[in-house]
């Protein structure tokens, strides 16, 4: 169980972060092309942003932890 969670943190979460980052880059480009689409300010985008921030935060903490462990 613990190993599965660790695997999720180290292997899956970084990909979730990458995918969400990619989605927000696309939203940003689309909003520049047509501001009335307003992808970034949508309610669903705000929820995705919270997930993105959490994923980024956890990924960063795990990466720093692993780095310190190997040192």
């Amino acid at each position: 169980m613990k190993q599965g969670f660790q695997r999720f943190l180290t292997r899956v979460l970084p990909h979730i972060t990458i995918v969400l980052a990619g989605m927000f880059v696309i939203f940003w480009i689309l909003d520049i092309l047509n501001p009335t689409m307003n992808f970034i300010n949508r309610e669903i985008s705000n929820k995705l942003l919270i997930i993105f921030c959490t994923a980024s935060l956890v990924t960063s903490i795990v990466t720093i932890g692993l780095e310190r462990k190997t040192d």
Partner: protein, 367 residues
């Protein structure tokens, strides 16, 4: 043994290129799911609205129809020069602080050169359709100005109603909600419309004011101007900062649209700046509603993105058209591929790229 495990472990790992491909596929799938839920799947709302104005029992004719169409409009082909409006007003607008609305608007100065292009060129009236019953008088004209790649073709519906209840709106599938869409033609047919134009595409946004046929569905203010048609036949446009929902309801709001911007200053003068963004300000197909006096309205659809037929207009040019049609107030509705005008079950204009499905229309019903 340990080395073997390590080798197996390494074999299981994807190469970097495989990982990049996998992430890109995941990204594409995630965007697909997002678009599906946000733009495609209809989301019917449980919001049935609140009746704030009821004119259905009103039998008295508040306004009178003009006795006869003028000889000028009966001519098959006429040429006229739109009166140049010298009075230009400027408007300073206080933006809504840190609030980020759903239209990302800013003040964009109106372009007097654009407006002059319309006012100085000859406007040719090619054809017309008329519809009259005891409560409605409707005249549709096709007008052209410019030539070659600068040619602009637009359609003007001059509408008189005896009571505001004859100027109606309708939702796609008769339902308020998100992503519930249909063509202007189909929505019009479902509502027995003699005449219809595209509305403000309220379903494309989660915010904004939506009042239709005296029913309040939504009263969230975003960054866009608001246009309100009252039961007494008057029309007003508001900046988001000046809009007071309770006051508007108390005054008897019959319809409210939230797209914009407002184009004229209340006396027919073109506003000095428009509350919009640069994307919306460019040359595009357009749809606009104009107010002349209680009971007398102008609906205009400008075709665009079709070189040699019609290039579309900027907001300044649209403002000049509306001013030239005699409007004192005018308001831009959803344009682009949405801009469509339907009369007697047929498209009057040529919607850009075949048009698109919209969430609402403005209509004149049959007898």
């Amino acid at each position: 043994m340990g080395e073997k495990n390590e080798l197996n472990h390494k074999k299981k790992r994807m190469s970097v290129s495989q990982m990049i491909v996998m992430d890109l596929l995941l990204l594409a799938a995630s965007m697909g799911v997002f678009m599906l839920f946000d733009y495609v799947l209809p989301q019917k709302s449980s919001n049935q609205g609140t009746v704030i104005a009821d004119v259905s029992d009103s039998k008295d004719n508040s306004f009178t129809l003009p006795e006869e169409s003028s000889e000028e409009t009966k001519e098959e082909t006429t040429e006229e020069t739109t009166e140049e409006t010298t009075e230009e007003s400027t408007r300073s607008r206080r933006k809504g602080g840190d609030r980020s609305g759903n239209t990302n608007t800013t003040d964009i100065a109106s372009d007097s050169t654009d407006a002059e292009n319309i006012s100085s060129s000859q406007v040719k009236t090619n054809s017309f359709e008329t519809y009259t019953n005891e409560n409605v008088q409707l005249t549709i004209s096709q007008k052209e100005t410019g030539s070659g790649s600068d040619k602009i073709t637009y359609y003007v519906a001059d509408i008189y109603v005896t009571n505001i209840k004859y100027l109606q709106t309708a939702f796609a599938e008769g339902t308020y909600g998100k992503n519930i869409k249909d063509t202007v033609l189909n929505i019009g047919n479902e509502n027995n419309a003699v005449f219809a134009v595209s509305g403000d595409f309220y379903g494309n946004s989660e915010e904004g004011v939506v009042i239709r046929n005296g029913i309040l569905y939504r009263l969230d203010i975003n960054d866009a101007d608001i246009c309100v048609l009252f039961t007494d036949g008057t029309m007003k446009t508001y900046s988001p900062e000046d809009f007071d929902g309770e006051e508007v309801i108390a005054e008897g709001a019959w319809q409210a649209w939230n797209f914009g911007p407002s184009l004229l200053d209340g006396s027919g003068g073109i506003l000095g700046s428009f509350n919009t963004n640069s994307y919306l300000n460019s040359s595009n197909p357009r749809c606009a509603i104009g107010y002349v006096e209680p009971g007398h309205y102008i609906l205009v659809v400008v075709d665009g993105r079709n070189e040699g037929y019609s290039k579309g207009v900027t907001l300044s040019e649209l403002a000049q058209i509306m001013s030239g049609e005699g409007c004192v107030l005018a308001y831009n509705l959803d344009g682009g591929k949405s801009a469509a005008m339907v009369y007697q079950g047929e498209y009057v204009n040529q919607p850009a790229d075949g048009g698109r499905e919209v969430s609402d229309i403005i209509l004149i019903g049959g007898e």
